[in-house]
């Protein structure tokens, strides 16, 4: 599906991201992630993993991008619905604020890993 989005549509969030850098990470996190992972990234034991003090979040960037973009282990895929720049900002935010491991992910880094189809969010016909 992503391949069908015209380049002009993607270009806008990319430009916006370049200007705002980390600034939107927190509101984007609170908006999209906090219902499950909690506002402070503490998660809910047995259901939603903690993102704070997490070896996974502080670890391999490619794995991190993949799980957010494609979904996995019950986690929904956000790759089709959020702009790559937004995903990058969210990941930078949870690494820096919850794990003291700053990173400088950009939309380009996320795009580079978006090569396969994400999970289908709809019910099947």
């Amino acid at each position: 599906m992503k391949q069908l989005i015209p380049a002009t549509v993607i270009a806008v969030p990319l430009l916006m991201a370049a200007q705002s850098a980390l600034a939107d990470g927190e509101p984007l996190y609170q908006q999209n992630c906090s219902a499950c992972h909690m506002t402070d990234g503490s998660g809910i034991p047995g259901a939603f993993p903690a993102l704070a003090d997490s070896d996974f979040v502080a670890g391999n960037l490619e794995e991190l991008i993949r799980i957010v973009a494609y979904g996995r282990a019950g986690m929904p895929s956000f790759g089709d619905e959020l702009a790559s720049a937004e995903l990058a900002e969210i990941l930078n935010y949870i690494r820096d604020t919850f794990n003291d491991t700053p990173s400088d992910l950009s939309a380009t880094d996320v795009e580079a890993l978006k090569v396969t189809g994400t999970a289908k969010m709809g019910r099947e016909e």
Partner: protein
């Protein structure tokens, strides 16, 4: 879920969240053959029930006596209930462990006093008036979901029509187009888009300007089709409107012939982006006729429950699942005593959603566990609104169906297909998916309600005025589900899904997640049918 808002490309989601474009058996099997060779192809064939003609119509015929062999069934959702009922009839000793205090899994109905715990939120308590109810899980049975209809028929559960299409309902879109910012009856959009399209096409055909080879006879028949399809004037081939789009003033008695309405221009429809609600035929799962059980969807699990007697242990949360060559051992936390108990059996059918099962200690193979982790689950919210009048019927003459809001934060508005002309009613004011649902569930409850009312009041004057109370559900936050339904990527379907359909020793999984009808009751039922047939074959062979 709803009618299609627009016709997306194959593999995309329509406005309902349903994936369009059918994956054909042939494509699937070709893909399997390519990836896994003949062995994979064979198991794929069995997974697709080829050669088992009954698998979508009625349960598999199980021949041979089970001799009291025991089966532990995890989960009393539809898959678990079906297995317990069918295997029980075959002489198996079935014990069902269910975490909740009631059967049905996601197949629930909210009535006054119903409580739904959701993680990170206050318990949601239903405060509807007596007699009002809402199906916050599955709510519709397509006519071709024969496996679901098999049980409603077998148990004598009375059905009523679920109105999934109502051209008198509205389409609304914010924006700068001439028809934006106001509710427009769907029938106006449908009649005018098809009328204008037919007119353009008919005139081209008539003038021989269409670059399609048609014989003279074919041309006449095609014109006849276009005149009928678009309600065109027979001689001029103009589209001037049609009674079907509604009247400016309805025809009446005596000397009142009514006043015809005038069509919207093609430019107005295009510039208002309302044409997306028109499509030649709705998606397979969205077509007429649809049903719902009279009185609530939970009539289905209740009918199973009545027949299963004390086979179900409620309030039992599974904490560990172990299997060996000889049998299966399940540890669970007993809700009444708070103690951990253990249950041993010859076989296990596990219907716990993969999103939850992955957090339960088990001794599945690494490969199997990794396959379980390949699935994601769709976040989805529904919010029901009890209204003190049925203003949509009384003031707006909308009886059932959906109004398309073009607002993905909230989703479409759905009107009840029951209680016609009653005093009050419960609307479905929110049904959203994916990131929209994740965002919606992060809002405080009063803001969720306000958002729903804010969309609805643009369509119905009575919407905010007559609101009384709400019931809010976020399925990704329900601890026994952690998601609305399984979502498979093509990659995961190819590499992980087939393995999960195979036994792990004496354990088999089942549920909507192991079907190509994810999120539908028939997916759960047919997966259960398939897996109990495998379980029975294993039991007969041992």
């Amino acid at each position: 879920m709803h009618q299609q808002e627009q016709t997306p490309l194959a593999g995309e989601r329509d406005s309902t969240g349903a994936v369009t474009g059918l994956l054909t058996r042939r494509h699937f099997l070709q893909a399997l053959g390519t990836v896994g060779g003949a062995g994979m192809l064979m198991s794929g064939l069995s997974a697709f029930n080829i050669g088992i003609a009954s698998a979508q119509d009625r349960p598999p015929p199980l021949s041979g006596d089970a001799n009291g062999k025991s089966v532990i069934i995890l989960g009393a959702g539809l898959a678990g209930l079906v297995a317990a009922y069918e295997l029980g009839r075959q002489g198996y000793d079935c014990k069902v462990l269910e975490a909740r205090r009631y059967a049905g899994g996601r197949c629930q109905t909210a009535r006054r006093g119903f409580v739904l715990p959701q993680l990170g939120q206050d318990d949601e308590v239903c405060d509807f008036d007596d007699g009002e109810y809402f199906n916050h899980g599955p709510w519709r049975i397509p006519y071709h979901h024969r496996s679901t209809l098999h049980y409603t028929q077998e148990f004598g559960i009375p059905l009523e029509i679920f109105v999934n299409h109502n051209e008198a309902a509205f389409a609304y879109r914010d924006g700068g187009g001439p028809l934006n910012g106001q509710p427009v009856r769907q029938k106006e959009i449908i009649a005018d888009m098809r009328g204008h399209t037919a007119e353009i096409l008919a005139k081209h055909v008539d003038q021989g300007a269409l670059d399609v080879p048609l014989s003279a006879e074919e041309r006449e028949k095609f014109l006849e089709f276009l005149v009928g399809e678009g309600h065109l004037e027979r001689d001029s081939l103009d589209y001037l409107g049609t009674g079907g789009r509604g009247y400016a003033s309805d025809p009446g008695a005596g000397l009142n012939p009514g006043e015809p309405s005038s069509p919207h221009t093609l430019a107005a429809l295009l510039n208002s982006d309302l044409f997306g609600i028109v499509s030649s035929v709705s998606g397979y799962t969205q077509q007429k006729t649809m049903f719902q059980p009279i009185g609530g969807m939970d009539r289905i699990p209740k009918a199973f429950e009545e027949r299963l007697g004390d086979a179900i242990t409620f309030g039992a949360r599974v904490t560990q699942l172990q299997h060996s060559d000889d049998g299966v051992v399940v540890d669970y936390l007993d809700g009444d005593s708070g103690e951990t108990r253990q249950l041993a059996g010859d076989y296990c059918l596990c219907t716990i959603p993969l999103s939850v099962l992955r957090n339960i200690e088990n001794d599945f193979s690494d490969e199997f566990r990794s396959a379980m982790d390949a699935v994601s689950y769709t976040p989805t919210c529904k919010l029901a609104l009890q209204m003190k009048t049925r203003f949509w019927e009384v003031e707006d003459h909308v009886f059932g169906g959906h109004s398309f809001t073009h607002n993905s934060e909230v989703g479409n508005i759905s009107y009840p297909s029951t209680g016609w002309q009653g005093r009050k009613g419960v609307l479905q004011g929110v049904y959203n998916f994916g990131a929209n649902a994740a965002q919606f569930s992060a809002l405080p409850r009063d803001q969720r309600i306000d958002k729903a009312l804010g969309v609805g009041e643009k369509i119905h004057a009575g919407y905010r005025r007559d609101f009384e109370n709400a019931f809010s559900t976020a399925w990704h936050l329900v601890p026994e589900n952690l998601g609305g339904w399984a979502s498979w990527s093509d990659e995961a379907r190819q590499h992980s899904y087939p393995l999960l359909n195979e036994p792990q020793g004496r354990v088999l999984l089942a549920g909507e997640h192991l079907s190509y009808m994810t999120g539908w009751m028939s997916g759960a039922i047919e997966s259960s049918w398939l897996q109990i047939e495998k379980l029975h074959a294993m039991a007969m062979a041992s």
